[in-house]
Symmetry: C2
Subunit: 206 residues, 2 copies
DNA sequence: CTCAAAAATGAACATTGTTCAAGAAGAATC
DNA sequence: GATTCTTCTTGAACAATGTTCATTTTTGAG
């Protein structure tokens, strides 16, 4: 066997265990919250030593950030899957997709937005960019709906709308301070989007 | 001296130190974030032992929750100070007051919304009620503006609006994932409220 | 002043992130 | 296949930090 194959075999094994560690960490965060994540638990569940976790991710933040990175990627994928045929329908679809993801992965999304870095280390640029990528998805349909408005204006508008949706959902899903009852959330969110679009001078969805 | 006076003197001293501990903890949270808060630091800064902090607050969560309790009280006080003469102006005033408080006390507000209890202990009912009290403040002006709507409907509408404002502000103030540039935030927030009110069929502010 | 109750203390403990010297495993060379 | 060099793995030890509690100190009544 040549060198390339030898290397790829080792890499494959390494990648496999890396994926296992990530999967275990994600399960802890998803089921019991970020605070329940412990290096020792992850190592034990993966059948390796503590040190190996550090070899793979550098430090604890590295593991968390890796999970968060995959979370925002999954979120973005889901948002991008929303049909872009009709802009009004797309905006509703985006809000609904966000709600769906937040409902199914509440703790993962919380981990993404609430995790603070150790000390004062800066937040990784790539995750920041990915979150912005997701947030910007409301831009295109709004441009189609508001062709006469200044583009920068629409850009701010879309980010604002997404932030509002995010606020409604994240507070609405907090078990503790229930700002909006969960069962009503879906229809209310649609109503909110409608109202806001109407305020922008756009016809409500038929 | 009678018993009452003796007791009140001791109580005064006790209350004084309690206030000092709270003030120190609040300063740590406000300047460096919740994660920077350490029992030992607080005890040292207050000139007392670690055990005394525990005597006063039971545990670490107790100290944090006490600070959070005062944070939500301060927020509510500020929101209640908004003039209630004109409902449209009041709604704008509430949003602006929330933004002002969030700007000046970003870390304190984050501590209130992001703190998770140790283990799975339930979130204190009284703080929950206080947050709801604050959120419900948009209800009265909206009732005046929408007298024909169902009251439950308006209740949900007001909580939704507050959640949206909260989302715009909390994401907008995140230094990292800047959803809306800070300098634009104030005017954009006003614009958002305007747009939403217009969507509800209400005249924009003159 | 004496004494019992309350409060304060801080050493010791438990948990958990982190490091690193030593050993194991793998790859390369002959 | 043996040897050697590199890389990975290990887990004991360390550091930071929340928590407990037996001991000491302080307090206030009699």
């Amino acid at each position: 066997m040549n060198i390339v194959q030898e290397e790829s075999r080792r890499d494959r094994k390494k990648l496999q265990r890396r994926a296992l560690l990530i999967e275990i960490a994600r399960r802890y965060i998803a089921t019991k919250g970020l605070r329940s994540l412990k290096v020792r638990d992850v190592a034990e569940a993966a059948g390796c030593s503590i040190g190996s976790v550090y070899n793979e991710f550098g430090d604890f933040d590295g593991l968390i950030l890796t999970v968060n990175r995959e979370t925002v990627q999954a979120l973005t994928a889901r948002l991008k899957a929303v049909p872009a045929d009709d802009p009004l329908r797309q905006l509703h679809g985006l809000a609904d997709a966000y709600l769906g993801f937040a409902t199914e992965h509440a703790n993962l999304l919380r981990s993404l937005f609430e995790h603070r870095m150790e000390d004062d280390r800066p937040f990784p640029e790539d995750i920041l960019a990915m979150v912005m990528d997701a947030f910007v998805l409301m831009h295109a349909p709004l441009v189609r709906l508001l062709p006469d408005r200044d583009l920068d204006d629409v850009a701010l508008l879309s980010r604002m709308m997404f932030s509002a949706v995010h606020g409604i959902i994240s507070l609405g899903l907090e078990e503790r301070m229930v700002a909006v009852p969960p069962e009503k959330l879906r229809e209310r969110l649609a109503q909110f989007v409608d109202t806001h679009l109407a305020g922008l001078g756009l016809t409500r969805k038929a």
